[in-house]
Each structure stands twice: as structure tokens, then as C-alpha cells.
Symmetry: D2
């Protein structure tokens, strides 16, 4: 970290800051410019968080962070890309992984029909929400435990592993019994109690980016899971909130190369939530792969116009299958397989 002193700060001011830094156990290094003095802080990074409080001193103009504040999630500390398996599906390697299924588990026939369809289309993992975070209390809130049981059944029938969302710490155990991957939704990316609990649980985690989470904050949320002893985290870009209203969110594909540079964790893309309109899903799925994503998560529904959640952004099974056929040669030309 670097501490910038205000112009006109005295030697006593500078000494005071240096002493306080030393009290935290760090060494300092002074650099006197023509107008401002700059104090470099030397030492282990993670504990430096607290130095930000020095901005409260009258003589301090600002404190600038030089190093990224995450460690376990950083590629600097861990240059090899992380790879692991979900069931038999390898994540983070050459293979592009596609998760697909309905937004919400609505009924046994609906789930089984969609599960069969996405399997046939070539998906590797079945998605489906049993616990649903809904903006309105009057919207369908999910089948909850009953939905989890249906997901297990669909998984047995199709052989596809299951990813589903967990929304509160107390439900981690029961969700983990039925799911192969625990999804942390965008609205819970900074639900730190939940992050600590899924870390303990040990199952792979799909960590969606929040709609206003910076990439740095997102990686710090991943750091909570890694620091809790769970190394198997997939990051998933799903759109951020901007001024543009033509799409539901703004899918931020820039995040793919940025995360690939900063971190070793695999990155997926969710073009369904990212755009909010099924007509844009294929284009953004292609673009996601081309930007370097390791996988996709796509909403598929057999009757989108009757869906209890997110119908407008769901693909019909035949459109999903057509997209998969389109993505295969694209993956190949990008040096991946699908």
C-alpha cells in the first residue's frame, strides 16, 4: 500500500503515520516528491486492510492499494489453472461444460421433460432452481425440498449431475444431499455467512457475480470459499447493472479475460440472465466461448410462455439443441472441445 500525505504535511505528521504503520508491524519507505510525500508500506499484504483507516488522519490525502487484496484466488499465488471434476465432467480444462435446464423446478413432468431434452441436446449438467430468490413476495418461490427430490430423480434418470441454488446457511446441508454443485446466486455473492457454510460443505460451488459486484469484490467472495478450505469454485458472469435497458442486465464478457489474468479459477457465462431475452442468448453464448469462458449455463424450458420464472429468457429444447450444434465447431476452432 501507498500512503499519500497532503501537501503541507509536517515532519511530525509524517513521523506519526510511519509510527502507526510500524505499530501494525510493517516497514515504511519514504518518497518525497515536489509537492507530496509518499509513504510506501512494506510487508505481508492481507493484514494491510486496516491501514485504510489511516485515511481518517487529517494529514493523509489517500491510501492507495497496490496489490490485489485476494491471495488464494490469485493467479500470482497459483499460476496453474484450477481443474476438477463434477461427477465425470471435467471442469477448467480443454472441455467446454454446458449446464442447462429450467430456471425453476415447477413440476415432475416439466423437470423430467426438460432434463431429457437438454441431455439429448448435449448438456453435461442439469440446472434447476428449487429455492428461488424472487424480487416480489407474490411471485412463485420454488418447490423447495420437493424440488430437490425431483432434481435427484431427474439426475438418476439422465445421468446428469445437478447444479442448484442454495439461499441460506441452514439449507446448505439438505441442498448438498441432492446437488453436485451448489450455486450461490447473484444476490448472495456477498452473503458471507452463506459463503462460509458452503466452504465447509466441500461440494463444488458455482459463484455468480453480483449485479453490481466489481471483479475484485467477486474474487474476494471466492476467497471466502477458498479460505474456508474448499478449492472447487467456478466463477459465473451473469450480467451487471448498467444504464442500458434494452437488455435485462449487461452481460460483461470483459470479465472473462480479466478474471483469466487475475485468477486461476474456471469462469462460466450465463447468457440467459445476462440478456434476459432468449433471442440474444445464442449470440452471447458464442461470444462467451470466444472470450475464453470454460462453460455456459443456459435456461431451457419446454413451455417458456407458461414458465413460473424467467420465461422470456428461456430457450425451447429445439433451439437449445441447435445452439449446441453451432457451438461445437466454434469450440474446436478456439482449441476447445464440446
Amino acid at each position: 500500500m501507498i500512503i499519500i500525505m497532503k501537501p503541507g504535511s509536517t515532519e511530525a505528521d509524517i513521523d506519526d503515520v510511519c509510527r502507526r504503520v510500524a505499530d501494525f508491524g510493517f516497514r515504511t519507505h519514504l518518497s518525497r516528491g515536489e509537492v507530496r510525500t509518499i509513504i510506501g508500506v512494506v510487508g505481508d499484504d492481507r493484514a494491510k486492510e486496516q491501514l485504510l483507516a489511516l485515511q481518517a488522519l487529517d494529514a493523509v490525502e489517500g491510501v492507495v492499494r497496490i496489490l490485489q487484496p485476494f491471495k488464494l484466488a490469485s493467479r500470482e499465488a497459483h499460476p496453474e489453472s484450477t481443474q476438477f471434476k463434477i461427477g465425470d465432467v471435467p471442469v477448467g480444462g480443454r472441455q467446454i461444460v454446458v449446464m442447462a435446464g429450467p430456471c425453476a423446478v415447477e413440476s415432475r413432468p416439466q423437470l423430467l421433460a426438460v432434463a431429457e431434452a437438454v441431455k439429448e441436446g448435449g448438456a453435461h449438467i442439469l440446472r434447476g432452481g428449487a429455492f428461488k430468490p424472487r424480487t416480489s413476495p407474490y411471485a412463485f418461490q420454488g418447490l423447495e425440498e420437493e424440488g430437490l427430490a425431483l432434481l435427484s430423480e431427474a439426475s438418476r434418470k439422465t445421468g446428469l449431475p445437478v447444479v442448484t441454488e442454495v439461499m441460506e446457511p441452514d439449507k446448505v446441508e439438505v441442498v448438498a444431499e441432492h446437488a453436485d454443485v451448489l450455486q450461490i446466486g447473484a444476490r448472495n455473492v456477498q452473503n458471507f455467512s452463506l459463503l462460509k457454510r458452503v466452504a465447509e460443505c466441500g461440494k463444488p460451488v458455482l459463484l455468480k457475480r453480483g449485479m453490481s459486484t466489481s471483479i475484485q469484490e467477486w474474487l474476494l467472495s471466492a476467497e471466502y470459499v477458498l479460505a474456508g478450505g474448499n478449492p472447487n469454485v467456478i466463477l459465473c458472469e451473469r450480467g451487471i447493472r448498467t444504464f442500458e435497458t434494452a437488455t435485462r442486465y449487461t452481460l460483461d464478457l470483459n470479465a472473462i479475460p480479466v478474471v483469466k489474468k487475475l485468477s486461476h479459477l474456471p469462469v462460466f457465462v450465463d447468457p440467459s440472465h445476462g440478456t434476459g431475452h432468449w433471442e440474444y442468448v445464442a449470440a452471447m453464448a458464442r461470444a462467451g466461448l470466444a472470450a475464453g469462458a470454460d462453460g455456459l449455463i443456459i435456461e431451457v424450458h419446454n413451455k417458456p410462455e407458461e414458465a413460473l420464472s424467467d420465461g422470456p429468457q428461456s430457450l425451447k429444447p429445439d433451439r437449445f439443441a441447435a445452439l449446441m450444434r453451432e457451438l461445437r465447431p466454434l469450440a474446436e476452432v478456439l482449441g476447445r472441445s464440446l
Copy 2:
């Protein structure tokens, strides 16, 4: 709601949509423009959520919501402004209510010193975090239950009621034992499991706006609490995320008159988190009152430069007292008291 058909949609398309709307139990009303046909949906609003799925039909261009999706939180349904008491402190009436205290409870001496100071300065309610949502897992996470006990002690000593944050459903009970108001932080504004639990608990709730929560979504989160049977909700604007980096967030004071128009709930302003710099707190506290806020929540620390959390945005006790002296005549000229 209004359903806009694509140009070129046939009578069969229109009939199909009307039939589906009727299946949901609503009546329809056709309006044929030169280019597009528009289908108005007539009936009870809350259940209309699901009609949004009709956007998935090929012949439908869009579905436009006409009514606000919240009901209990709306001024239309409840024209009188909500008023209630926290201890002896009346909220939502003529009186401006000031909550003040440290970001985090750090120690007994720190909390007691700050509590005495804010009481002396004129605060009505003591704030202080025992459970802290921290972006980094390496930052101070709060004293938890020990912090709650200290808040209780400080409350007894000063006679000030206490507001403190609760971060997970399982902690609602223990927090409610020590707190007079339960704070839902910005990162949990759409933690629906938590909202449902604080609704059951019955204690007043201070519901912070999320950093990327629209005013409509914020009121829908309040609706979760109201619909759960708890009418005593205070909304608190604390800054949204924008492109501007000169302030930590962008305190959105426009939200005050907008919420006052749309809802009957009291609205507070948090200039400390909203700006992130103590130097801007006084100006934005004044502006918040002038915009029509019913109260303020302000961070105060006896040694901001040693604070374990949010030091740069904390006022020292003497600056807090000076601000209170400045706010009193301002409140008066605005027809309020402080």
C-alpha cells in the same frame, strides 16, 4: 399490464394471447393501432407477475407493467405516512431521528466512549455492528454475540435504543434480544430468507437500499417484511453504485422524494456509507434533511484512524456534536424538529 403484439401478428396470435390471459383469470381489452395491437389486462395486480412469461411467445413484442408491483408498501393503498415508536423515539412524524455510533463494536471502552459521546451530541438511537459483512475474509468480522452484549450494556448506560445489523436468518432471534431495531444491510436487501425471518420477529426493521437496487425493487423487499406481518419498516438510502469514484458510493437523495411519493414508509439517509469520506458527511446530512428524510444514520468513532472498519467515513465526537448543532435550525426551517 399491457401486452404489445408484434407487427404482422395474426388474429390467431391475438386470440391465443387473450385465451392465455383468460386462463390466468384476467379479462382483456384490445386496442388496435396502425401498426401494432395492444392487449390490456384487467384484474388484480399482484398475480399478474406471471404474465411476463408471455414475452416468450413469438408473436409478442413486449409486456409493459402499468401498476407498481408492490401493494402494502404503496401510498396508493395506504395514504397516511407510517409512524411508530422505537423505545420512546417517534419515527416518521415531525421529529427528525438521528442514529449514531461506530461502524463496528470493537471493544467495551470504544463502544461506551462513543455511546456516551453520541448521546451527549444529541443522537436518539445508538448504532454499532456486532456482525459485520466484510468484503475481504481477512478483515475484522465483528465481535458477534460478545458485541451484542456490549450494545445492551451501552444501551442501559445511555438510555439509547440500539440498532444493529443481522446477517443470517438463524441469528435473528439472538440479535432481536439485544436490539431495538434490526438492520438489514445493503448486501442483504434481497436476502429473502432473512427478510421473511425479520418479518416474523416483529421488531422494527431498518432496510438499507442495496448498492444496485432500484427503488421499485427496494420497495418490493420492504413488501416481503410487510407481507410477513411486520408493519414497522424504515427505508434507508445509503448510496448506489455508479461510475463516479470520487465518492465511495453515490448517495441518491432523489430517492427521498420518489419514495415519499410512492410509499408511506419513513425514509432515512446514511451519509457516511453514501460518501465514504467524513469530509462530505455534514453536507450530505444537511442535504438529506432538506430533501425530506425522516432521519439520519451517522458513523462516529473516537479514533477513526484506528477503526477496524470504515474509519475514513467516521466523524469524531466533536464534529458530530457540531453537525447536530447545525442541523437543529435547519430542521426547524423545514418544519421539523430535532
Copy 3:
């Protein structure tokens, strides 16, 4: 357009609005809901702009636009995709068009070196700024007319057509003498005087999206050029401003499929400005093509570390050539050629 009346509005209020709408020359169509009456406006769209003023009436809750406000730019009015030629280079068809060159023309040797390099790498059009919009008055402002002459020379030597920015109406003529395509920069996307002048000039226009321009506003800016009699407009996405700071802007690739749906105009992508870092340019160039872009504009500099403008986002010639080799098979698999 649809006019939503406030609940409790009287027959007289409704009549008043209908009469005002009729005075503008439109017909109305009433739809009475349980709570609100809705007035549909029937008639030619473009002149409806002024109806928005009816929101100022006390009895009116809001005015909702149903149709897109642009006409000549819309795919609805003009279903075929626009195609035209810049020199011999066909734009808007099967071929992907690549514009490349330095951010700013800095000197004769610099420009000629880069021009040769991008030609060799496979670029179709040479870019280079002679007039530079710089945030700071102390930054290099461009070689102006001298730069234009150098661009002409480079064009003659390489055979590449030239695209360069024009910043004020009075310079349109001189820029058009030296350029094959006139670029309107992001900061001038709503410089309507300039748009009117380039419309008259008749040369093809590359219209960059502003950093906070919605897609609808961007297409309305294109409409200024089309309505002025110039049909040859290329839209160019170059990144919007969001809260994320890891990239200089957030390149919004969602805009590609959205514009393709709404408009018949060709769309290009600028991954250099969009990300601000050369390390991310290749990934976002690939993603742009995969999302459906008709072309790219890429900054190339022989010595980025000495560039007078935008060095950090410029590719070196060998990296540009490598990117082009990578893009060719990608274009093919997408059904395009490069």
C-alpha cells in the same frame, strides 16, 4: 404511445387529455382498467414526441412509448441489412472488415510504419486520428491538417482507405477531402450540429456509441445522419461507462444482437477503447465477431510505450498479425470471411 391516467381521474380529466391528443392530430382509444384508465394514441409515430409533455398534467401518471422513436434506422421499416462499399471494401455483407492503425497520427515515420504493418497483417482500412478529443488540455491534441495529409499519403502508399475522426462541423469538408470514412467519436455522438453536417457531406460515417448512450439514443443519432440524406452509417460499439474499473470501459457486446434486431445498419466493435488494455483486445475481438459484428477497429502502434495517446491499449504489429491469423478460421466457422 399510451397515456396512463392517475387513479381517481375524472371523466373531465380524461376528456381533456383526449381533446389535447386530438389537437395534435391523433386518434385515441380508451381502455378502462379496475384502477386506471389508459388512453392509446393512434397515428403516425414520429410526431408523437411532443405528447410526452402531457405528463405535466396533474391527472396523468405517465406516458409510455410503444414504438421505437427512430424510423429510417429501424429494421422494421427497412428489413434488408444495409451494405455499401468503402473504396473496394464491402461493408455489411459476408466479409468481416478490419480497420487498424494508431490512435493518433504522431509523425510521418510512425504513421507509414504502422500503415505498412497493418496492411501486411491483413487490415482493410487504415485508422488514425488527426484531430484528437483529449480529456486534458495538456495532452497531445493531434497534428490536425498535417495529420490529414499524412493519412492521405499513407493511403496512397498502401492502397488502404482511411477512417479518421472529425470533431467540429467546420472541419467536415477538409476531413472529407482526405478520409474515406468520417468517424464521429463517442464524445460527439450527440453533437447534433456535427451529425447534420456529416449527413450533408455524403461520405460513409462510422458512428461510435457514446459512453453513456443507450442503444435507442445511439440509433436516434444515426437517424440524424440518415434523415439528412446519408444512408451509409456504420455503428461502432466502443464500451460504456459502468461501475467496473478493471477495464477502462465495459465493452457492451450485448449491443450487437440488439442492434442487429432493431436496425439494418452494420455494426463494428472497438475492443481497444472498450477494454483499455492490449492484453484484453484479442479476447474481445474474437467475442465481438462471435456476437455477430460486421467488423472491428483495432489500435496498433509500433512503439506503444512511446505513444502520445492510448499506448496501453495498442497492439504491436506482430500481435495484430497474430490476432488476424486467429480470427480467420473463427470468421469461417461463423459463416463469414476475413
Copy 4:
């Protein structure tokens, strides 16, 4: 500026950067951390802009700016607040200045009626647009020169000085003949050709913040005018673009205390454009003053529902007069006069 080297950079890399910095005429100061070496650059600030290009070097991780890039606009260089007069109206001192009038000059009767009304209400300066930047080419574009003549007439009749917008460099002269203050609109805040021309003209300039202009960029635009020899610049906050759609823009009152800290220039607030709804204008006008603004600019129209531009955000004359009566005691309690 500070140059951060990548971990693993060699002595040769560091020497190379230091040599390049020296070539630009600056001295360097090395600070070796445990992981990264940091190179401080010592010397005159303004010319440092170009050092940003060093980020293009492979061994450089980043270049961090320490000083604000503006100089003439900074309070550091010019601690006294700027004060000047527009006609007899003192700007930047104790007195709050109110500019009011219609968005657009539409006709002689309209302008004269509104001008008389705002004078009677207590406005100090008459506003009115003769050249109108309109998003759509089909919207009313202003009366242009005829509108300027009407403004002059209204000014003579009421004795109020006039502020009106100039949109292109070539019109600066004619606008300056009729106006006492030249307004640069939000869409032209980075129209650098225009800024240079109004600098030469010498008349006071009202510089609106762009809808996505950071405070730093805004002050750099002011720097263009100051560096061109014109010291009389008023900054005007008018709302930024965010995700929130309940208001047309998000009036960013945080900008007031930030600008007051960074700069000596007077700051005004435009609650009409900032919110886009007349119902919110009074609250945000009050809040603007309380935040420390030196003046307001408010849209007033005698028949807002027939306005050719921005009717929904215009106050009627009686509401304007009521607001002024409300603002006077508020100004007093803030230590200002109105």
C-alpha cells in the same frame, strides 16, 4: 505518478523504465517492496500525462496518478473561491443565484410571459434555449437566431441577464451577442473545440456536467476554458446516468462538496434535468442548497403540458414562486442570502 513494476521484473526492466522517465525530463525514486518495485516520478505534473503510455511495457503492471490532473481549476493552486458578476448579479459569494425560465424559447408571448413570471418570483437570471440539442431529429430543434433576439428582448423588458446554450463553435459569436452567460450543455462537456472557442469569447460560462462525466473529467473540461484565458466558469451538476429509472437522471449532489473541496469554482444545481419530474424539483432544489450549491437553474413554463421540450420537468410560475419563498429562510439558515 507512480509506476508499479510486475513481480519478477529484472534490474534491466527497472533501469529501462527509469531511463524512459528521465527522457521525459523527470526524476525517479525507487521503492522496493517484498513483491513489487515501485518507481515514483518526481517533477511538474501536467506533462506527466504521457507517462501513462509506459503501461504498454511488458514489465509494467500499472501507472497510478497521485496528483489531480487539473491545475488552474484546483483549489490547491487557487485557495480562494472564485467570485464574479453577471450583470449586477454576484456569483460565488454569499448570495444564492437562481436562473429560471423555459427549457426552450418557443414564441414571443411564451417567453415574455415566463420571463415576467420568473422575475416576479425572484429569479436573478433568465434561462431559455434557442439552440436545442434534441435526441430525436424529429423533435423541435429551437428557434435559433430568432430565439436569441427574443431572449434579448425579454432581457431588456425584465432587466434580467440571460443564460442560453451554444452548441457549436461557429455560433459562439452570435450567441455571445445576445447572452450574458454561455451555457455548455451536458452533451457538449467534452466538445473540446467548443470549449476552446468559449474560452476565447470571454463571457462567463455555465459548464454542465455530462451525464457520464466523472468529476475529474468535468474539472478538466473547465480547465480547457481556464487555460484558454477565461476565468469565469460556473460548474453545474445536472444528473448522471445510473441504473435507476424512477428519475430521468440521478442528480448527484455528492458532487457539490467534492467540487468545493477540489476546486475554487462556483457550483450550481439543475434539479429540473436532474430528476426529470416537476414533483421532485422542490425537494432537490432545497437539498442542493443544503449541500452547498451557489445557485440553481430551474425550468419554468406557463403551460408545461404544451411545452415543445421538457414539459414534464417544468414548474408552473406559481409553483416556482412558492419554491422561492420556501428557499429564502433555508438560505438564511445556511448562512447565505437569496
